[in-house]
Subunit: 336 residues, 2 copies
């Protein structure tokens, strides 16, 4: 049972003062090369590591970034976190993870913790319930404490902070246009996140892409039972020829309901959705998807935050858009 050696102990062993040891370890020009060598040698021998808590107390920095995640079971966020972690690691920063589970109350508690001095900066994706309530005071409060904040993924909010996300409007706009160009007319959307910023932006993009005479087909519900009914109606009554899925559940539900009702993909129905590539390729048929490059998104968000913390970036807040890509698999094949 070892315990970490301290500066004091090192000083005692070397018969010098604590200050000398500290300076030597930090390569201070005040200290003679010989002393520096002696000190470093012993420190290495004892595997000395400065106590981070003490260093933090002195510097009023924690070397830690807080990440607020709405739902880690969503593989998108898991990958975003992975990208953040990688970037943080290169910078020698630690990650403190907080999961709101899409709850407003929990998010409020977390926001309180975030201002308590645990972290030097914060990456936030705002919870669903918070978006419903339109209550953002607790988030803005974090800013009051001069703690740098970057919003990631869920960025459609009126707040004076840096934002890193994708252009949800454009993704659905482009996808709709592309289907139309290939001769598909009856295009529908399935979504369980229509009440959230990103969900709304996607619907808007779709609507804008439709032409004068086109009808909107939007199957939207956060309740799975009701979503199912609406998608069924869209498939069986409205007989849409393509479905854009705005999230995992709605995409997979459309896919599954087509199967249950003998609707052939891609012959009778094309599908593109927000699911991850690692899954999409295994589906039968494989399903075309929007690649959001979540790891890049996470990395970028972390980078923007770091530049704020370091004051490398002191300009006005900015919005950064990560490019998205449609990956076409079997579910959007056009057979000749």
């Amino acid at each position: 049972m070892k315990s970490r050696i301290t500066l004091k102990e090192l000083a005692r062993l070397l018969n010098v003062s604590v200050s000398t040891v500290s300076k030597a370890l930090n390569d201070s020009p005040e200290i003679s090369p010989k002393t520096i060598e002696r000190v470093k040698e012993l420190a290495a021998l004892h595997n000395y590591r400065p106590n981070p808590t003490a260093v933090n107390l002195k510097s009023s920095k924690s070397g830690t970034i807080g990440v607020l995640i709405p739902n880690i079971a969503n593989s998108f966020f898991a990958k975003v976190l992975s990208g953040m972690e990688e970037r943080a690691q290169r910078e020698g920063l630690q990650l403190m993870t907080y999961i709101s589970n899409e709850s407003y109350d929990r998010e409020k508690q977390i926001a309180e913790l975030l201002t308590s001095g645990y972290v030097d900066g914060v990456l936030i994706a705002i919870a669903e319930e918070t978006q419903r309530k339109k209550e953002f005071e607790h988030i803005k409060n974090v800013l009051q404490y001069d703690i740098p904040v970057v919003l990631y993924d869920r960025i459609g909010f009126d707040m004076a902070v840096d934002k890193v996300g994708i252009d949800d409007h454009k993704v659905f706009y482009d996808a709709t246009k592309e289907l139309q160009e290939k001769g598909i007319n009856r295009i529908g959307i399935a979504t369980s996140i229509h009440h959230m910023g990103v969900g709304k932006a996607r619907i808007d993009g779709y609507r804008e892409a439709l032409r004068e005479n086109d009808t909107f087909y939007v199957a939207n519900s956060a309740k799975m039972e009701s979503l199912k009914e609406k998608i069924l109606k869209m498939l069986l009554e409205d007989k849409v020829e393509a479905v854009l899925g705005s999230d995992f559940d709605s995409t997979m539900m459309a896919y599954r309901l087509a199967y249950e009702n003998g609707i052939r993909i891609p012959e009778d129905l094309k599908i593109v959705g927000f699911i991850r590539g690692g899954l999409a390729k295994y589906l039968t048929p494989s399903v075309s998807y929007f690649d959001q490059f979540p790891d890049k998104l996470g990395e970028k968000a972390m980078e923007v935050l770091i530049n704020r913390i370091n004051k490398k970036n002191t300009g006005p807040v900015q919005k950064y858009i990560i490019d998205t890509k449609v990956v076409h698999l079997e579910s959007t094949e056009f057979k000749k």
Copy 2:
């Protein structure tokens, strides 16, 4: 731009000493009720929060748990993390997240960080590469520093620590037996994790369940191309009637290859695998799966760790097994 008020400042405003303020806020019996009230009132007014770094330095505790995750993109680990976070939250503990990406070198670095005083205890799932190398010194080193460690999920290692996981041997043993009882004889395994502890245990369970005359069919490779070939051979040449999938990729690959080769599920081939229920139900046909209750596993691991940290548990190290359940969906249906 606010900044947190300190004890000192509070003391100045109240015209009392810092010690008095500190004691009052901690409800010390040394302090008069009247003073306590005055102090708390002002503290509330200024939304005082003790600086956690200072408290940590005094107490040599950090109120933080380190979680070492091999791969967060694996939804199993994402859910485990979610369970841990929930339990930690109830205890007022924070989570420091480290992702090894299955790399030995990165894990070693993290292990070093874990002994630097950032965390009061550690939850570890050992990286794949580490298991291959059979190099566990860096993990054991954490123990040397008297930091409580709990191994979760990947627990088949000879180390004197608490362990929380599932009984991988039994899961595949039972599943094999169950298929046999229903009259299935040619049962195969698909696995990309055969070189890891959990993967080995599953294979062993399967082997033990087979009878005298049964043949083993094991399609194993960590390389996707080679795994594909082996599964194909198992399906087409060995003509197995059932496949147990040991992980996401191997399960989905068997499922997909059956589709590509006109092998009907469940008529010609039954499938059960380690995939998550949220996905399994949407597949076409839906795929039977092993529910590992990852959130419970995470919760339990955190609980065991907390009890060690609090010294509520000072007994010998133990192994805790979380029950698993087979959820039967269409891929194992027996039509009459």
